[in-house]
Structure formats: C-alpha cells, structure tokens
Symmetry: C2
Subunit: 296 residues, 2 copies
C-alpha cells in the first residue's frame, strides 16, 4: 500500500488578504482575477497601500494538500519556505492539518513567499505574489520515498514560474489528470468556445476536470462526460482556493476509488465551502462536512 494518497508539489506561500474595491485594482495596475508575480519593490509599494489584512497559509498545491488531509486522506507536500516567522507559520499550519511536509527550509534569504490577495466585493480575488524562497525549490527537494510512495502526484500550474521547480516536476510527473477552469482551457486551446476547448482537452488527457464557477464542473474521460452541479452557497465572500479545494475533493475521492461523479461532488462541496469565507483553506473539517452532505 502506498504511503500517501496524494503528493502535492507547489509554491509555499503565506497569503496576506484584504478587501478592496475595483477602483483600487485599477489605480494600482493589478489585473483582476489573475495571479500577478511581483518583485520586492512592488511588494513593499502594494503593502503600503493595502488595507488592514489577515494572514493565512495558502499556495495552490498546499491548499489542495490541506484539503485532502481534511477529508481524511493521506497527503504529502513539497514546497520551499525560508527559516523565518512566515515560514514557521506555513509549516505549522500544514503540519497541523496532518500533511507530511519535510522540505528543508532555506537558510536565510530570500524570505518565505507571500501573496497579497485583494478581494473585491464580488468575491473575486486578485493575487500579487512575491515568490521569495519558492524559487529555490529544486530537484534536490524531491524526497524519493514520498515521490514513489504516492498514488497520485499533483502539482500546481504556478510551478512553471520558479525556474528550478520544473526539474523537480519532471522527476515526478506523468500528466494523467488535468484540473483547469473554463478560462484556462479556452486560453490553452486558443478558442472562444468552451465546447471546442473541452473536445480538445478530452483528446489530450486521460481525465480532465474543468471548473466553471457557479455553473459547476465538467469531467471528461475518453468519451465519458460527467456534469457536476455547483453547491448552493449562502454568500460568496472570497473565491481564493476554489480550484485548489475542488482538486482536493476530487483527488480524495479518486484515490479512495470512487466514481467520477462522486469525485466531482466532493470537489464541489469543498470549493463551495471555501468561497464562503475569507482565506484559502476551509475552516470546517471536510470529512464531517461531506458526511453531513451524504457524500461519505
């Protein structure tokens, strides 16, 4: 039996989250809804203009690992922090969630990564990420036992940004399942039609799970198509982590041998919970929430 259901690899980031209006994004040249990479100087400028904030561990694949563990799955994580207070917070949070995380912290500079996330009244999040120590994640950080002892290895798309991380991915990855949102697949296949993009990704991946915000998601595997409803929510607060938590629910279901329908429903549940709070990792226990919803 493998030691882990899912090994997640990604940028280890502490989120700094504040609400703002759309005018703030425009004034500061922040592309709405996007992940904007920033350098130290811009980080200082934006922070000086940012409203009162809260801090929470984030990063796409780390959020997914935390979600899987919250469902009761066995998750491991590779990601680089520095040996500084934000790095300690990051390590604390992911350990406290029950994720195996042993990547050696960087000694000294650059500091632990942080992403200033501005949440507009419509719940959309606009991220401004200073990668810091993440750029030092490299092949030497691949722990062979964890890499070989996991049913699924998952890595976030943002990992193509820090240069050396690609090598770490290449040592572990086979692209069987792709998670994307509808904008991403349309951009990937350079088409304006969602259906055309879906037809294309169906040919390129064994499984693709494509999220469509309030329209739910579509999962394709060969000729098979499974349509998943979004869950009903009370109030949209902050979309940060929606895709990450969808992946968490899906992969927890997938590695416990469930149907694609069940995987998608678990993904929808987790995504629906995280967007009703500020911050990227649900504060509810996801296993209990899934049991309450009759999904486990």
């Amino acid at each position: 039996m493998p030691d882990f259901d899912v090994l997640c690899i990604g940028n280890a980031i502490v989120d700094i989250i504040a609400q703002c209006d759309d005018a703030f994004l425009e004034t500061n040249g922040i592309i709405k809804g996007a992940m904007n990479l920033i350098d130290t100087k811009r980080a200082e400028l934006l922070y000086s203009r940012m409203g009162p904030a809260i801090e929470a561990s984030g990063g796409s694949a780390g959020n997914t690992a935390a979600g899987i563990a919250s469902f009761g799955g066995r998750a491991a994580f590779f990601g680089k922090v520095s040996n500084d207070p934000l790095g300690e917070i990051y390590a604390h949070d992911i350990h406290a969630q029950g994720v195996a995380f042993d990547t050696r912290p960087l000694e000294g500079q650059p500091p632990t990564a942080r992403s200033m996330i501005f949440v507009t009244p419509d719940g959309e999040r606009s991220m401004n990420t200073y990668l810091g120590a993440c750029i030092e994640l490299g092949p030497e950080d691949v722990e062979a036992d964890k890499a070989s002892g996991a049913k699924v290895t998952y890595f976030e798309g943002y990992l193509w940004d820090p240069p050396r991380a690609k090598e770490a991915i290449r040592q572990t990855a086979k692209l069987d399942i792709v998670f994307a949102n509808s904008h991403e697949i349309k951009s990937l296949y350079q088409t304006k039609s969602f259906d055309e993009a879906l037809a294309a990704i169906r040919k390129d991946c064994k499984i693709a799970a494509v999220t469509r915000s309030e329209k739910g998601s579509v999962i394709v595997r060969g000729e098979e198509t499974v349509t998943i409803q979004a869950t009903t929510i009370r109030e949209l607060v902050d979309t940060t982590g929606a895709g990450d938590l969808y992946a968490a629910g899906f992969l927890y279901g997938y590695t416990s041998g469930r149907s694609l329908k069940d995987c998608g429903d678990l993904g929808s549940l987790a995504a629906g919970l995280v967007i009703q709070q500020l911050g990227p990792r649900p504060r509810q226990n996801l296993r209990s929430a899934a049991q309450l919803a009759g999904l486990l």
Copy 2:
C-alpha cells in the same frame, strides 16, 4: 481643537486564531474565556498542538483604536512591537486603518507579542498571550503631544500585566469612564449580584459602561441609567474583540458629543459585527455600517 479624539494605550499583539473543541481546552489546561499569560516554552508547546490558524492584528486597545478609526474618528495608539515580521504586520494593519501609531519598535528581543486564541463552537475565545516586546512599553514611550492632544485617553486593563506600562498609564490617565463586562464588575466588587456591583461602580466612576453579552449593556452616570439592547446577529462565530469594539463605538460617539444612548448603540453595533467573524477587528467599514443602521 485636540489632534485626536481618542489615544489608546495597550499591548500590541498579533493574534493567532484557531478553532478547537472544549476537550482541547481541558486537556491543555487553558481556562475558558480567560486571558492566560504564557511564557516562551508554553507558547511553543501550545502552538505545536494548535490546529491550522489564521493571523490578525489584535490586542484590546489596538482593536479599539482601529474601531474608532473605522467609524471615522481620529485615533492614536501607543504600544510596543519588536522590529520583526509580526511587528511589521501589526504596524501595517493599524496604520492602514488610519490610526496614528509611532511608538518606537524594540530592536531585537523579545519578539512581538502574540496571543494564541482558541475559539470553541459556542463562539467563546480563550486567549494565551505571550507578551514579548510589550513588557518594554514604558514612560519613555509616552509621546507628550499625543497624550495632551487627545480628548480621551483609553487604556486596556491588560496593561497592568507588563510592569513598566503602569508608569506610562500614570502619566496619562484620569479614570473617568470605565468599560467592563458583568463578570468583571462582580469580581471587582466581590458580589454575586449584578445589581449590587452596578450600584457600587456607579459611585466610583463618572461613567461606567457594563456589557452583558446577548443582554446588551447598561450605562450609568450618577443617578442616570441607560439600557442598551444587543444587536440581532445571524451567527455567533468568535467573541474576540467584542468588548474592545463596544468601547470603540462608545468612544467614537462620546467624543463626537452624542448622547449615552447613541454611544451605547454605536458600541452594540460594532460589537455585534465583530462577533460574527473570526478575528478581532471588523472587516466592514464601521462608519458605513452605522449609517446603514441609521445611527450616524
């Protein structure tokens, strides 16, 4: 015209907030609902046992200052952080809220104070505070211009813990208005009856505002008694900051010349908002919220 409506003096603390069940408090010897002072060793132990957390600037008087500024009042704050990342977060958040905060940070050790706050399912918060740099707040940190240029000087009761802070208080304080909750006044006057305690505090203070959780609050001034209703809330999430925000609303009203009834209603409004979220400072703009409620 004074430069500030309210000068607040208190412990400058970053809160580390996690949810837990009552059994956790018992297992770890944490007195429920209390502020437990802890040392470095206990801080490390508790943090190692704490679940995934979020971080947010806190501290009683700092929360009050932030609340006053959010109402549109002019607030200043004295409090000691260290020149470390948590200290930067603290300073950022209070500045971003529009509070004048210029206390010189401590160079080096001890680090910025943090309070591990455990929130139980009933919304009660149990605080475990490592005072860190706060113990270095002293008379030399009193900025004379701010102390003389404020209509009201407000200090938190927790300031009696760090030894040198008492001297800073003595340089600025005349005890005209006392904020307390019903447990505190009963404890102060060693009586089991709320009414007896209220009769006693009525004689000792010019004004006393006593909060009673869901029963609202009672304000006494000489023979005058004003009863304030608690606001209706949707869901009690976390009581952290309730008293601090009540004081913020009250003092904003008081320094803008409003009636005791209006002061109490503004306090109730702010307290009612902060207890419906995780974290000690409301994320809504309090001025807008008060206008919406017809209070401003």
